[in-house]
Amino acid sequence: MEHRAALEDLLFRMADDALIYGHRNSEWTGLAPILEEDIAFSSIAQDKLGHALALYTMLGQLGHPDPDTLAFTRQERQFRCCHLVELPTQDYAVALMRHALFDYAERNRYRLLEQSSFAPLAALAQKVRGEIKYHTFHASTWLRLLGREGTDESRARMQAALEMLFPYALGIFEPSRYEDELRASGIFAGEEELRQRWLDEIIPLLEEAGYRVPPLDSVQPCYGGRSGYHTEHLQPLLDEMTAVFRIDPSAEW
């Protein structure tokens, strides 16, 4: 198949983002500040794991092992997720701000992929469109409630989260060495196009919700994740996520 390496690189980025972000969201199950939020983060986690499963299944059809093997047996250096999704969140403001920054990028990525020349990816993109609307709806509701409609404390905590996370969010769009090929083949419009669309949407949204967006030229994006160089937080996450699987990899569930 033509453009195989470029396509696989894109699918691994997306699948690993969804898996790791989904796992981080699932950490709020039973612990979120209110019951509705507990359910919301658990539901979003379930959706993201569904997206990861669909993407790993596509990789399986391209000759890779089954989804469980891809999710649970690869080494840290083989993961292609961005640093944003790896960060642990003890602070709910950080969890909500990351949710907004990441899911608005996901929404724009899948919108671009609705036109993908790789038909299975275009079909998945059309399918998840409605699901991601609920994710961005949830995120934008909380941006507003804790921002313009919130208290001094809620605004300050969300603003601090934004400033801490913004360099990581820009790391979502770390270019790959396949950008030209992805564009030319019509598989994907590329990370730069995505970054621009994301900025066009997220900056007005954040400003209308009452936050100050750090000037872009003052921010150094956190790159490395897309080529397998991760923060110190990924390995402990993988250890925990795979603990049960490693007890007996051949177990039937």
């Binding site: 359910i39 539901s43 959706d47 794991l49 569904g50 059309q126 609307k133 609920y134 709806f137």
Partner: protein
């Protein structure tokens, strides 16, 4: 199997109407609108389904339930194919399915033209008293496909099947 035992497509649809959604057992998969194609040949039935949500945990159970139900029919093979190319929408749900939801105390999903916007969630009708004086508590509920509400008139919590 004897050659004269020809299975009709109608008979297979009737059998599929007895396969239920494991999360809402009053609802058949046909009324849910998740069966997108049915192909019946003398030696194989192929049922194509489209998942409600990509991460729906009931999908494997539904596939097994289809195979189990159709195994009663005198045919050699049953194939269940999952295909996103016809994306599921709550607009695919039948009137009978919507009535079944209402009878269980769920608000049926609102119908929409073109593409839905999540703001459509804000106007739900209470399935207990019919009031529209209701408040969305959370767009996420006990299953991926359900949202949680509170009725300000009869003061009961209820769930609406989410438009998608």
């Amino acid at each position: 199997m004897r050659a004269m035992d020809v299975i009709t497509t109608d008979a297979v649809w009737a059998a599929l109407e007895q396969v239920h959604d494991p999360e809402i057992p009053a609802l058949s998969i046909v009324d849910m609108g998740i069966v997108t194609a049915l192909d019946v040949t003398p030696d194989c039935i192929t049922v194509t389904i489209t998942p409600t949500f990509v991460g729906c945990p009931a999908l494997e159970m539904i596939k097994d339930a289809i195979r189990t139900r159709l195994a009663d029919l005198p045919i050699e093979r049953v194939e269940v194919v999952v295909d996103y190319s016809t994306p599921w929408s709550t607009n695919r749900m039948t009137e009978r399915g919507r009535a079944a939801l209402a009878s269980l105390g769920f608000a049926p999903p609102p119908r929409f033209d073109g593409e839905f916007e999540p703001e459509i969630l804000l106007n739900a009708k209470c399935p207990n008293c019919g009031s529209t004086n209701t408040t969305l508590q959370s767009p996420f509920g006990p299953a991926l496909c359900r949202a949680i509400y509170y009725c300000n008139d009869c003061r009961q919590a209820f769930e609406q099947f989410k438009p998608l």
